[in-house]
Amino acid sequence: MKLIYHLSQIKKSDQKFVGGKASALAIMAQEKLPVPKTICISTNAYNVFMDETGLRAQILMEYHRKSFDQMRWEEIWDCSLRIHNMFAKTPIPSTVVAPLSEEIANFFDKRAVAVRSSAVGEDSASASFAGLHESYLNVRGTKEVLEHIKLVWASTWSDAAILYRKEIGLEVEKSSMAAVIQELVQGQESGVIFGRSPVDQSKAVIEAVYGLNQGLVDGTVEPDRWMIDRDSGSIVSHTPATRTKAIVSASRGVKIINLKTKKRNKPPLTRHKVKQLFILEKRLAKLFGSVQDVEWTFDNSKLRLLQSRPITAIAKNEQTDDRKWYLSLRRSFDNLVSIRTKIEKEIVPAMVFEAESLKRIDLKRMTDEELATEISRRSDICEKWKKQYWDFCIPFAHGVRLFATVYNRTVKPDDPYEFLELLAGTTFKSVKRNEKLQQLANKLKKDKSLRELVQSGKLPEDSIFSQEVAALSEELGTPLSGMINPSQLRTKTFELIIEMVDTGHVKKQQKVRTKSSLERRFLASMSKSNYAFAQQLVDLARASYRLRDDDNIYLGQIDRQLLDAVQEARNRSVTVSKMPLDISRADEVANCLRNPNYRPESRKSKPIEVPDKQVLPRQLMGQPAGAGFATGCARVIREAEDLFAFKKGEVLVCDAIDPNMTFIVPLASAIVERRGGMLIHGAIIAREYGLPCVTGVPDVVELIQNGQEIAVDGYLGIVTINKGLSIN
């Protein structure tokens, strides 16, 4: 079984062992084209690693935990994170290490190399893995090269690669990966020739940057772009970039540098070089029998070819190929930093201001016409902020994911979610709100006479305690806004506080944490040159983690202003009062106010499924999202009103909880949620309170009945339903 191939040895029939990239490099090298010194680590090495270590079996267990069709992207990302951690923790067996080490040392000694993926199956224009797998530049020494080969192997199981393989019908479990080790060319100008422009197939495109190619490929550096007519070979246009940065080799890995003025003002390629590259692509197209995308670099004006692959099937698969979307699932650090600034400096302050401004408007004094206009205006405002939320807040959650990837890669922890310990304990707005509730409960605990007064309902409304409760009930009322009046809401808040008196829930962050030691461990795992980056990354991840919860509170406050206006309309119009309180129907509410004869269309509600008495769920599989084990009676949250019926010690079972609803969490013994993922709100708040949590349990709200005794295993992600209803 051949583990290592030299380019001169690779035949066309070897493609299934060496992958598309190595195969193309071999063809070019055998044609005496300028290819850097390269060896290929075959898929045999990957397979020996997977089978001898038992990793394949372990991965398949993880991958098939749930039916793929029932998994959200977030769950696939989690699955991929766990698989990557398995790779990181599993040493390559000596049967592979020994021959590879010898060859790598003989071939490259301590010279810098690039370790690139060479995926099997990428042999036609119908499947292009470009950008989906990992490549690493400037890696030195046998040990480091071996570690990076493992990272390349692991990238077979990235979320994007899994999704893409599924989409094009490749079986992920049968996929294997070869790796290319290539002498690093310290090119001064680099780029890509795209044999056909995605927008005009009669043209080729050449993109070029100063420094190494990575900046162009990952989008960090904006390239100059030339369009060339494929028939005549003439340059049709040149779009210069705003040239400011370049990626160059650092002592380890790569770094971004600022360009000097001379280079900023000069395109990285002359017209002569552009034409030279285009002629080369024509030659390669003839050699390979199809139009190519080619990565190249100029080292002291000497052209070197880094890889060539058939063009991505833009036209044919434009409708179905979601590779672009998969690639957008990763965000660069710089991109995330700019999103954070936008959210913290612009979006959040503006949201707070908006909610406060709307709150000051006296709806009661408006005429029906004015109220209708106000409802439409508020509906537009909600839509505007929802869009901002989707465009900026949701992508910013990638900050946590970027940190997770870097943390697990450098620290190699036993627990793939150890990184969350470094992020938890940030003061969420929802947790602060819960602390206020607990403080009021503590007051009742200390003062028995006050407690008796509250329980008897005789506490005067103007007492300090009543006023504190009233202020807090405002915050709790968002999910119930409009459904009950302020006095009923206050009563429910009192009941909730009384329920909290004996919980004695100690928030996890108040316990002794190992947070600082983990942070030290993470920083120590980074090289000195990356130390500052690591600190910035921790800071970014904490902001990303905090905002993931907080931004929902801000958005909830704005939604609440619309709900209040709709409720005012319900008070005035009989037609509106018969409609469900639903902000998506705000326009119909406004129409009812404007025209008393207007009748909104009735929308059929989903028929209630009668539970089958013969087929009963016993054990449900989800994702382990909060370590721990607890049993308790299920409280299934179907309506916002169910929140206030929550009793201490119950297990919170819900479809999808948002931070406006998590005030009951301190009372809960565990959390179970239909929506999956480690970074959903249910999982985040469970970790804050150290509660067992299982997420991603399909149909859980239908399968579990209120009052059933259930066991929640947050270590294994299993929910077991015991028989009987203990509460009504």
Partner: protein
């Protein structure tokens, strides 16, 4: 979760395909497990099997009629963790009267024709596990129960 009809169809397919299951019995707090060849009725309520009367399982059943039968389709490969299905049938065992006209015995010999002489022996008992609940496990840890008498 699967609908009842889909689940029943899947179970019937499994029971028709599998010939042998593991019967668990016990006497005086001493558990025992043994392989048996079984056949099942369409309503999934009756699991028929045969055993010489001298066996430990027969003795156990005479002492305690409650028993469990495990039927599965494992292939002893890693893929079992995601593909295998296992059903534990829980119920009460009763002995059938041997008669040529017995529909249940006919069902059994149709499936296991090579055991026809075996069950004809006067020392062999034909038994029926009357199922109450079927515990169905697939995808490693996903469990549903089919309650036959509800």
């Amino acid at each position: 979760m699967e609908k009842r009809t889909d689940l029943r169809r899947k179970l019937k397919e499994l029971f028709d395909k599998q010939r042998i299951g593991v019967l668990s019995t016990q006497k005086k707090n001493r558990p025992y497990a043994s392989l048996i060849a079984f056949a099942v009725t369409d309503d999934l309520k009756s699991f028929i099997f045969a055993t010489p009367r001298t066996t430990r399982k027969y003795s156990n059943i005479m002492a305690s009629s409650r028993a469990a039968l495990l039927i599965d389709n494992r292939s002893n490969r890693m893929s079992d963790f995601r593909r295998a299905m296992a059903v534990t049938v829980v119920g009460t065992v009763r002995e059938l009267r041997k008669s040529r006209k017995s529909r249940l015995i006919q069902l059994y010999t149709d499936k296991h024709s090579h055991l026809e002489d075996f069950i004809k022996s006067p020392t062999c008992a034909v038994l029926c596990l009357e199922a109450k609940i079927l515990h169905v496990v697939d995808r490693f840890q996903h469990v549903v129960e089919l309650h036959l008498n509800k």
